[in-house]
């Protein structure tokens, strides 16, 4: 059992997947020779050769499009998008093909690809290196969207996503990449050749902190902040807040969400993406639709603002902070 950060855990997962299954290839911009700008793919080229670990030309639509073609032939490509906002040139391929290939082939030929997207802010990066586009994918039927938050989840989710027959977008919160180490079991828990259902299990929400008075629903880089906010709520307000780390973004773990909201009677949704038509709106709607009689207050949202992700000198003003989360929680609690 090793102590790994998320980058190391993802790297371990890729090594394990490529070792276990010849169908797995890894591709993207600068992922082979350098091991990727975040080093998630480090060592793979040396271990598995450049036929299977591929530095591609600089063309995101081409990357996702050729990955789809590979999967039709039976490979299991894992494509990296270098940074969040560079997925938009590939948006067409994702929406009109990755998401519809199973459907368009009467279920026979899904686009069994994984698209890894390091996403989100907080790393003082230039423009268009800090977007959170996950809600866009969650509105496109045919995709699965997942966002691991812990190193162990990251490794397991990656393996399960590769095993899954459907196209999976793995949103990797880059702010968490090197934020800390935790235990990742050495053994790969998933046999890629025989693990169709594994992803569903890993897309169930994870209770990041127990609590009874307020359910805080979140995912990715805001998860540790929500836990910190919960600690502060406990210390300063005597409130016991549960933190749900969603993991699955589509499909959402609607049962866990509703159960927590119902039990607590109050809920808050937190994410980094802009608020308008973001995933928080879906979570909030689901709770109200299913559990309004259990609620003592409306579900509120603490999110990024409805503005382009700012230049990095002001990113802290944009990002949900522990303070903002506490303030949102207090608003729900005092309703």
């Amino acid at each position: 059992m090793a102590q790994l950060n998320m980058v190391e855990a993802l790297n371990l997962g890729l090594h394990q997947a490529m070792r276990a299954d010849e169908r797995v290839v890894v591709m993207g911009e600068d992922i082979a020779s350098t091991g990727g700008v975040f080093r998630v793919t480090a060592g793979l080229k040396d271990a598995f050769g450049e036929a299977r670990v591929i530095d591609t030309p600089l063309a995101e639509s081409g990357i996702v499009g050729t990955a789809i073609g590979m999967s039709i032939y039976g490979l299991r490509p894992v494509a990296e998008v270098q940074f969040d906002a560079f997925v938009y040139p590939a948006f067409d391929q994702i929406v009109v093909h990755a998401a519809r290939y199973a459907w368009r082939s009467a279920g026979t030929t899904p686009a069994s690809i994984v698209i890894r997207i390091p996403f989100g802010g907080g790393v003082r990066a230039p423009e268009l290196h800090s977007d959170s586009p996950e809600a866009l994918f969650c509105h496109v039927p045919g995709l699965k969207v997942v966002c691991p938050t812990t190193p162990a989840d990251a490794r397991d989710v990656l393996l399960a996503a590769i095993a899954d027959p459907d196209p999976v977008i793995v949103m990797e919160p880059k702010r968490v990449y090197r934020a800390g180490r935790s235990e990742v079991p050495d053994e790969a828990p998933i046999d890629i050749a025989d693990a169709d259902g594994a992803l569903a299990e890993l897309m169930r929400a994870r209770v990041a902190r127990d609590g009874d008075d307020l359910a805080i629903v979140t995912y990715g880089a805001t998860t540790p902040l929500c836990v910190a906010a919960a600690e502060r709520l406990e210390a300063e307000h005597g409130v016991s807040a549960e933190v749900l780390d969603l993991r699955g973004l589509f499909p959402l773990d609607v049962e866990a969400i509703t159960e927590a909201a119902s039990r607590c009677g109050r809920a808050l949704v937190v994410h980094e993406a802009p608020r308008h038509a973001g995933l928080g709106a879906e979570v909030s709607s689901l709770i109200h639709e299913r559990a309004i009689l259990d609620l003592e207050a409306p579900v509120l949202r603490v999110t990024g603002f409805d503005v382009p992700f700012p230049q990095f000198a002001n990113e802290d003003d944009y990002l949900p902070s522990v303070e903002r989360i506490v303030a949102g929680a207090v608003e729900v609690l005092e309703f």
Partner: protein, 355 residues
Amino acid sequence: MDEPLRIIGNGTDVPDRDVPDGLTDKDLIELYRWLVLLRTFDERAVALQRQGRIGTYPLYWGEEGTQAGPLYACSDTDWVFPSYRQCAVATLRGAPPSVILGWCRGYGGPAGFYNPRTYRVAPICVPIATHLPHAVGLAWAAKIRGEDTVSLAWIGDGGTSEGDFHEALNFASVFKTATVFVCVNNQWAISTPVTRQMATATVAEKAAAYAMPAERVDGFDPLACYDAARRAVQRAREGGGPSLIEAFCYRLGPHGTADDPRLYRDDREAERWRPLEPVGRMASFLARLGVLDDATRDGIAGEAKDRVAAAVRELEAIEPPGPEVLFDHVYAGERPWSLEEGLRELRALRRREGD
């Protein structure tokens, strides 16, 4: 600008050239059979559309040679990637024509979509140029696996303007994938003439940007289409990388059954090209060669008619997909709950409405 390769002459002043390498008389007849099947399907589909029995239909009248020729140059294990304009090409690999008609009737599920892996024919692709990267990825995958599968994809002259055209050809040339790009330059993209689509005089010239071999052929000449594709497929299979073939022709019909070309072009231009159409031309050529007699010709025509008629009967016999089809096959794995709920909602409503 090179004159496009032409093998079939006109029986008078334009001489025939030799039958391409590797084509026996049996092959010639089989290829003719393909052309006739495509033609028969196309004409019948247009009629069905006029009767309101299928939806808008992207007829390909006159382009049969650009489809059958290159396909005939492929091995059965090679993959082909049609656009909407090659909607019926899977029938030449054994897919039931009724499924193509089902697609045209707006059926989803197995009534409208075939299994690409059964026929090594990708699904009909509606969004322009987006299937080209798939063809590249597929051949690339074969290469990674050490297999010599070739992929062949069709694209229109208009399609060359899309970014995906460029990205696909670039990836193919960088990774030397065994991919053959067949650009059917019928000189029109709906109402837009090819002269407004590109500044080059030919599509073939664009291959220079990818250091890729290219060839222009008479798109109305099935044997020229075959021959260029044969060479390209062989080169690809031997590790020589991708090629671009420009099948130069003319869109003889409207863009689709909903289109009225009189809004933007002179009918007489199409009339001038019409005598070059491939099916009659191939028949004359084979007759000149002494390979096709009237009886065989009629037999082939009859066979095609019967097959398409049977397909129409099958189409009419199929139960139209029920509402469940909406939720089927969206995911290859288990249906997510939100689809399950949708299905329940729809079923409840149906029950309530007594439908």
